[in-house]
Symmetry: C2
Amino acid sequence: MTILITGVAGFVGRHLVKYLNSVYPNVSIVGLDVVATTEVGKGIPGFSYTETNLLDGDAVRAILNKVKPEWIIHLASFSSVSYSWEHPSDSFLNNSLIFINLIESCRAECPSCRILSIGSSEEYGKVEDNCGLIAESNPLRPTSPYAVARVSQEMLSRVFVQGYGLDIVMTRSFNHIGPYQRDAFVVPAFVKQFVQAEKTGLKRVNLRCGDLEVIRDFTDVRDVVRAYNLILHFGERGEVYNVCSSEGRKLKDVIATLERLTGIQAELDVDRSLFRPLENHALVGDNSELRNRCGWKPEWSFEASIVEVLEYWRSAVTL
Amino acid sequence: MTILITGVAGFVGRHLVKYLNSVYPNVSIVGLDVVATTEVGKGIPGFSYTETNLLDGDAVRAILNKVKPEWIIHLASFSSVSYSWEHPSDSFLNNSLIFINLIESCRAECPSCRILSIGSSEEYGKVEDNCGLIAESNPLRPTSPYAVARVSQEMLSRVFVQGYGLDIVMTRSFNHIGPYQRDAFVVPAFVKQFVQAEKTGLKRVNLRCGDLEVIRDFTDVRDVVRAYNLILHFGERGEVYNVCSSEGRKLKDVIATLERLTGIQAELDVDRSLFRPLENHALVGDNSELRNRCGWKPEWSFEASIVEVLEYWRSAVTL
């Protein structure tokens, strides 16, 4: 069996390769990404890496023709909401067009392959206040160019399932955290600043931050990659699954946790440039479908996860 | 005042230019299209034409910087559903990406310009049987790559209205008919075949056709362009309006009308290649919003419109 992973060099990719190799040691894993070199998959037998730009449809098709994967896990994405506000066309191409190139190539080269299409909680966008946990049946009201591209990806998946019989299952993945996540995302951005203060011997950190009243649902990346494997096994073709902890946390509570774990006090330096043109106040998902159909439940507590993120940045930050 | 029209060389564009010139004789109209030469706007003072590929974002921005229009009517689209099934990436680029280029350029160069974004009844996609007339509040369940691109365009419009304060009004335009429509669309395709038989002196025509049970809502293109002008005047920012007759017609009834008007009998030559991977059985819109808010009502009956389409093809077809 061969599994192809796009966007393999990213945060989720490196955890996914490790996890898949641990549960399927004899499977071939083909990783694609746009970067020239990667640490991903080093020392894992059966792993191979190909540098590819998914915007090049012919290149994608040639790879699928050669590899003929049984599973594709499509992680590749320009997943920054802020970037999508600044560069909407680039964000759109590197979300929607790369996905079209992938599924068109599948249709031609490996039409019975099972594809896991990763989406985002951002697809829900504006939700009613106090609506409780967001289930998959909630309307999608995207509030950023990135979110629109993700909704498009999901609608295209359904069209290709129903119109061309492709075997696509989908996620709406909520925020995830863990080692190796870039500090362009909010939790590692905070953690890195705490660790820098710690290494300098400070007891206070001037924390650059955006809107701290925002509520998000964080899942450890290792729970996320386990969910992806389970959805590939048990997910219903053409259906979408929330991947989330079902626990909401204000960003200011994340900061309080970091204060407690480090003994360093944060002084908030609110930066309006980190506010988005439109912000979703609360995104907390209902994970019942994933639990009930796929038998998943999270194994990492938020605090255990944050401790590992701290450890990661302690080893990564040099002053 | 200056009005900019994208996709001006198309079927709707040529009617729109004529109509706008008749109601606003002193307005400057700048037409853009990707074709090298066009008959559109000939003899209309105040009309100018620029050959432009909207995929080139820099070119679009340079034009808006120069023209600074008060209104933009964005007709440009790869609007064939069939083409989108065959070439999904090309269809997506020439619907979604060109729209992003346009609104990004507006944001930079003429942020208070009012933009009319044309959408499609195809956005509704799969509707419940016997749901009656489709109102704007109906869920969108697109069933083709083209329809997904149109839904994206609408979602992007809302994001740019709410996030960047642009002034965009939208339509979901149902099928329209009239002189100059290409025979890639169903009604002119039928009419052309009847006219060819007529000119050959035949009493029967072998009519190549797809699924004739499909029900569509046809509006004369001249009623459509009147609606667009009214929506620009009275439409609410960020809102979407159905443009339709609210009358459903089976395609086989269209054929019966043509038989009656020409005295030629159709022998149906059903071509499975004209069937789509997914078909929407019935798309008949509710035009109450357009009537009530914008004061529009259709002036052309279906039969009067078809008579003109017949006349057009009688002058266009040479054997």
